[in-house]
């Protein structure tokens, strides 16, 4: 069973009608609901990767976010081998997570659209390596099927 707090132990009334926030100036996204696990497509609609995590930094660019005293921003989408850590806990080392800078994101919808070609992104290096060193060496592997 996932962790939970007994409602009787909470220091507030769970049935209280909470006030709604004033409408923020910008578009509102919930990270898990609208970004995580979404497919990213490059500018040619070619699938690139899934959004496995997000990089959060302070306004000064520091990744050491310790409190809400200063604003924090999402600076990159992260993609990597997270299946194992989701099943068994923990998280992959930072070196295994590939970054897609937020400045390359063009739109967020059912998919996350990028404004660049996937060929130029580090996140696809494994695919490029397999194409060049494995698939390309198989007879017929360097052209479209006839």
């Amino acid at each position: 069973m996932s962790p939970r707090v007994r409602r009787t132990a909470l220091p507030y009334d769970v049935d209280e009608d909470l006030p709604r926030e004033p409408t923020p100036a910008g578009r509102v996204l919930d990270a898990r609901l609208h970004l995580l696990d979404r497919q990213t497509l490059d500018v040619d609609d070619v699938p690139v990767a899934c959004v496995d995590d997000l990089e959060v930094r302070t306004a000064s660019g520091s990744g050491d976010v310790t409190s809400g005293a200063s604003p924090a921003y999402v600076t990159a989408l992260l993609s990597g081998p997270v299946l194992g850590t989701r099943l068994f806990g923990g998280r992959p080392p930072a070196s295994r997570l590939h970054r897609i800078l937020w400045r390359n994101v063009a739109d967020v919808g059912t998919t996350v659209r990028l404004g660049v070609r996937g060929e130029d992104l580090d996140v696809l290096w494994v695919e490029r390596w397999v194409r060049d060193h494995v698939v390309g060496r198989i007879p017929g592997g360097r052209h479209d099927p006839q």
Binding site: M1, S2, P3, R4, V5, R6, R7, L10, P11, Y12, V14, D15, D17, L18, P19, R20, E21, T23, P24, A25, G26, R27, V28, L29, D30, A31, R32, L33, H34, L35, L36, D53, L54, E55, V56, R57, G63, D64, V65, T66, S67, G68, P71, A72, Y73, V74, T75, R91, A94, L97, L101, W102, R103, V105, A106, D107, V108, G109, T110, G115
Partner: protein, 119 residues
């Protein structure tokens, strides 16, 4: 920091009382324009729920009412969910500790804001 450091983290009041768990992080696209097409998303607040599971469907923060049975059940399961602003977060690291005078807000999306970017 990566977002996984925050998601599912226990949330405590300044007194140490456990309030729930971070089930999601609310972002608002009103940060600086960093040379791209979209402005940078700013961390606006944390959604805190007494439960961690099944919140990914988001029934407790949208006006979606169907399928009715599922919507009512999930909304009931996640009663007590609230939004706390990022400025009310006193400390992050393992547990999330809120400021002494933190304020709870409704977890629903603000009115008139684009609610369903998936459409």
């Amino acid at each position: 920091m990566i977002l996984s450091d925050l998601l599912d983290a226990p949330v405590r009041a300044a007194s140490g009382d456990l309030l729930g768990y971070v089930v999601d992080v609310r972002l608002v696209l009103d940060g600086p324009l960093d040379g791209g097409i979209l402005v940078t998303p700013r961390v606006h607040g944390l959604l805190v729920s007494p439960r961690t599971g099944t919140s990914f469907l988001g029934y407790e923060r949208t006006d979606v009412r169907s399928p009715a049975l599922l919507a009512r059940w999930l909304r009931w399961r996640h009663r007590g969910t609230f939004l706390v602003r990022w400025s009310d977060v006193a400390a992050v690291g393992g547990d999330v500790t809120l400021a002494q005078d933190y304020r709870r807000w409704s977890p629903t999306f603000p009115e008139t804001v684009h609610q369903h970017p998936t459409t």
